[in-house]
Symmetry: C2
Amino acid sequence: MTEPLAPGSVIGILGGGQLGRMLSVAAARLGFKTAIFEPGGDCPASHVANFHLQAGYDDTAALTRFAESVDVITYEFENIPTSALDVLEKLRPIHPGREALRVSQDRIIEKDFLTGLGLTTAPYRAVNSEDDLRAALDEIGAPAILKTCRFGYDGKGQARLSSAEDATQAWADMQGAPSVLEGFVEFSHEVSVIAARGANGEVACFDPGENVHREGILRTTTVPARLSASQRTDAVLLAGRILNALDYVGVIGVELFVTPQGLIVNEIAPRVHNSGHWTQQGCAVDQFEQHIRAVAGWPLGDGGRYADVVMENLIGDDMDRIPGLARNANVAIHLYGKADVKPGRKMGHVNRVILS
Amino acid sequence: MTEPLAPGSVIGILGGGQLGRMLSVAAARLGFKTAIFEPGGDCPASHVANFHLQAGYDDTAALTRFAESVDVITYEFENIPTSALDVLEKLRPIHPGREALRVSQDRIIEKDFLTGLGLTTAPYRAVNSEDDLRAALDEIGAPAILKTCRFGYDGKGQARLSSAEDATQAWADMQGAPSVLEGFVEFSHEVSVIAARGANGEVACFDPGENVHREGILRTTTVPARLSASQRTDAVLLAGRILNALDYVGVIGVELFVTPQGLIVNEIAPRVHNSGHWTQQGCAVDQFEQHIRAVAGWPLGDGGRYADVVMENLIGDDMDRIPGLARNANVAIHLYGKADVKPGRKMGHVNRVILS
């Protein structure tokens, strides 16, 4: 893409969840129209989009119609079926590109990619049988964590092993799916870098946020994170190396463990990321607009931050806290318009602006 | 309204322009669905709303259908035909209420209301003929400005008089419409207060912004405004008095002239206001969300400001400046999705965050 996409052009978004919703609002803010491709009805993104094409990823005719109705395609989740991408990419540019999806769709390929760049990950071994698992445990040691290579999110598709005795159950939990055993990393805390690369190769990073998870689900992200100046530099350089290696266009989320020996990459997500939601309150250009800018060939925001923020996810029954939260000054509420409250379901988030 | 409206409820918005668009996004952020009533097709608000009912304000069946599909009704402009309000208010609550519309739809009624509260306005006289105009000019003196009582905005329906010689032309410009002659006020600058009143009577004000107009159209609003502490207090108290007198629910814009003798009320607008757009960058709860909160019976944000901001409108060919503006760090761009660029047409705005 050489020319920036003009306002009035249509951005196609694969996936109609909360990330698609916030991408759609950001695109509208830049004067774009938006089209959502999502099998589900009444999806969060459709509430704030121009068009919603409700069809499955195996519906070639619908995919074709969708692609032909938009100027560029992006997505809110990495597990887009390859067959759908084959249809779409013949018709319109897709950002971020296939390579980013290929790498991030499979934990083994991702870790091979990262270590190939000279970055540090937790020790890992591919596991395709209980025997593999026992051999991997011998090498890596316990405790360790077994994860399916594909389709895991929010702690789903994972089993923790305290000792070799847990191997049979853990492997059974994977239901035969190709998996990876990851060694435990002794880390003080987790941070993530939300970084972006533009169509012209420029890179911009937001200030790293510090993440707290519970039951495998992100609960809070706080900026600024507890990081030294050199750790901050390392985080930014590392994100830039990943983006350049993938010839990436868009926003990426890079989760990092902070250890005395340096930063260890946990995982990458080729999309806007829950740990970047704080940017909605702290930055002139938030991660959603940053992503749309990249995808549309616009100049990126510089990632500058002008407020301290604590982002907290509202999960399941946290919705009951809304009346109280609404009475808090300096708390910005972001709800996703999901009809049904379910345990573990991300219903919204709040950004608490910390005034100095 | 005693119970706050639950997320998932539907907010009906009369008017599909940029204010409706930004109200719709704010409502979505709180988990509401939105329905736009707007005669025009492909209107800015419809791009980010759940529903758009395209019909005229004289279409009783459409108005009825609209009201029955929503939980509460608000609006983005004050010139809603009385006959439409008659249909709508029988079916659903409308906020702000009829009294605010009655007062603000007519410049004479508005000025009578304001002076009745003990507030100061420019000297004014009702004008219904050229003879009236000459008599009014004798009393008020020149220079002065003649305005139609109704339907004026962005400098439309106005004529300036340098002397009595301009009377014939000025009256002709009004095309026979009931008008008001306003005396000139010697003011150093104009500010506006964006204030809100909740369903329970609580009042919250944003920090006053300083406005610069050109050719009758707002160009920039800057916060903080040049105001002394006592002027700031006066501005807030005055806005509160207006809100309480109208038993108001929602956001109001109050334009004020700053003079050595105190603050003079220029006009009020019973809706979110162009001079409050800066709140999108400087506040946890912006004017659009504040309005939705009030209308939905939610607690209000406290109006606290955590950044200095200069808002600049993008008018007509200013759209050509977008590529350059997009390269500016700390500039947040807000475009309205209008298909056609026209001279004098508000196409978008930018909020420049000023870092200390």
